[in-house]
């Protein structure tokens, strides 16, 4: 049993890391921000903590805190031009943002190691730390769902005009979504670099972006369980069938199209909504019968 756990431990750890990034992606999409900047936030967090730990000997906890802060700050900066723009512009600009970050990481060799990246980073993060970070992020996600912030996010996602006409500030809440997405992305970038031994610019490119986006589209944009469902399915697919692992881009492509067309809320959110609809149909019938009973 123990060796079985050990053999599969990396899968669990990577699942937790991906889950963190997925929440970073989700909080943006939840607020109706078409951002794919999570890859960029993750890259910045990862490099920040790797540089602090390997070159300055700073403690891992402080390095990860700094990574989170870097993500937060960049999320805020990005929100300045983007929070007031329409969705398509946000998508284009954040795609470009990721590209700028990756180009910068290649270019600034003196700081980032260029294409070689940063290697021999000690592994300072273990499963419990990852679990704690995921738990913290899930708590915040849950809290958002219960508060006015979550209501504003949900309204913005479903109908921007209506939200504006009810006094929800698009700019402020989109900025908040960017900041949260940046903070979570930076945090998990920091954790990741202290887990995987080495980082390089290429890993934060298009492939990473698509994988995280797929997890959220598949899982769902509105609920706490969406990212868990999405990441779990994506982690298990290659374990179930090797052909699925070898054709991962193809599988991701098919998932993206099929889910967005046939299950636009995603598996997690979709099931939850379906359950609610079924319950409500029963309720509606009951109300109708009751009103018929009283002439």
């Amino acid at each position: 049993m123990m060796s079985y756990y050990q053999a599969y431990q990396p899968i669990i750890d990577f699942f937790l890391l991906n889950l963190g990034f997925a929440y970073s992606q989700q909080v943006a999409l939840r607020a109706g921000v078409f951002s794919v900047a999570t890859a960029g936030f993750g890259a910045l967090g990862a490099y920040a903590s790797a540089i602090l730990v390997t070159r300055m000997g700073i403690s891992p906890a402080l390095a990860i805190a700094t990574a989170t802060l870097v993500g937060t700050a960049v999320g805020f900066l990005l929100s300045v031009p983007l929070a007031r723009l329409r969705g398509v512009f946000q998508a284009i600009a954040t795609l470009a943002f990721v590209e700028v970050i990756v180009s910068f990481l290649y270019y600034a060799e003196g700081i980032t190691g260029g294409a070689i990246g940063i290697n021999n980073i000690p592994r300072m993060v273990s499963t419990p730390a990852l679990l704690a970070a995921v738990a913290a992020v899930m708590y915040v996600t849950w809290a958002i769902g219960r508060s006015g912030v979550g209501r504003a996010f949900d309204a913005l996602r479903q109908d921007e005009t209506v939200a504006a006409c009810l006094g929800v500030s698009i700019r402020n809440y989109h900025a908040l979504a960017f900041v949260l997405s940046g903070a979570i992305g930076g945090l998990f970038g920091g954790l990741q670099s202290l887990y995987v031994f080495s980082i390089e610019p290429g890993q934060f490119g298009f492939g990473f972006m698509v994988a995280i986006l797929t997890a959220i589209v598949l899982g769902g944009r509105g609920t706490l369980i969406g990212p868990v469902a999405g990441c779990a399915i994506l982690a298990l697919l290659p374990e179930i069938a090797r052909p699925l692992a070898e054709n991962r881009p193809l599988v991701n492509g098919v998932i993206l199209i099929a889910v967005i067309i046939y299950l636009p809320q995603g598996v997690g959110d979709g099931l939850l909504l379906q359950w609610r609809n079924r319950r409500s149909a029963r309720r509606a019938r009951a109300i109708e019968e009751a009103s018929r009973a009283v002439p």
């Binding site: 508060s147 309204a155 939200a163 009810l166 908040l176």
Partner: protein, 254 residues
Amino acid sequence: MPSLRLENVSKRFGGLTAVGDVSLTVPEGTITGLIGPNGAGKSTVVNLITGMLKLTEGRIVLGDEDIGEIGPEEVVRKGIARTFQNIRLLPEATVLENVLIGFHRHETASILAGLLNLPSVWREGKALRKQAEALLERFRMSDYADLPAGGLAYGHQRRVEMMRAVASGPDVLLLDEPVAGMNDVEADELGVIFKDLAASGMGLLLIEHNVRFVTKLCPVVHVLNTGRMIASGPAEEVMRDPAVITAYLGKGQA
């Protein structure tokens, strides 16, 4: 409560005049009617007031404050709420959630408190829920609180939209064809609620197609045709105005 005044308001799209030189007042505590045939520019007027469209000319004043330049989010905070001609609910949210978002501008808990789910947030949440439930009661929608808004019957969806607007606690409420597609019984039920709201001091601007409904509720009615105001005054008077009859029934009938 302050009243809303439009002073010589115009809106042109390119060469096309959608609204030209319109002036009207929505006094507190009354229901003011705005009628006119399809394409007369009624919805444009609403969009101008609520900050969706830029004014070409004129002023929009609430109390003594010019609100003709500010965006939609600000307009709400000044105390103007609206409903939409084609109902726009948040389809994935429940009826209660749709109403709760209406209270948005009154929420005081800080964002940080929201992210951490501090006690202040759940105290406020509880209070808002209570207010929302009271509102549901008033609109006789309590039974539907937990149902997804997207699946409701048409008339009920209209009510949810109205509750959401009322929840924002407006001084002026703009109702864009609120009884379209309803039968007379349903419409009159809503009429009672409107009178009720006006009695509490709120000013209502009722934009309608349904002349019978407007004449019944509104002491003063304005008539818009091809963007121009062609008549204003007490309902019975306005309805006898030949220009209004022409606009509604076509030239041959006048």
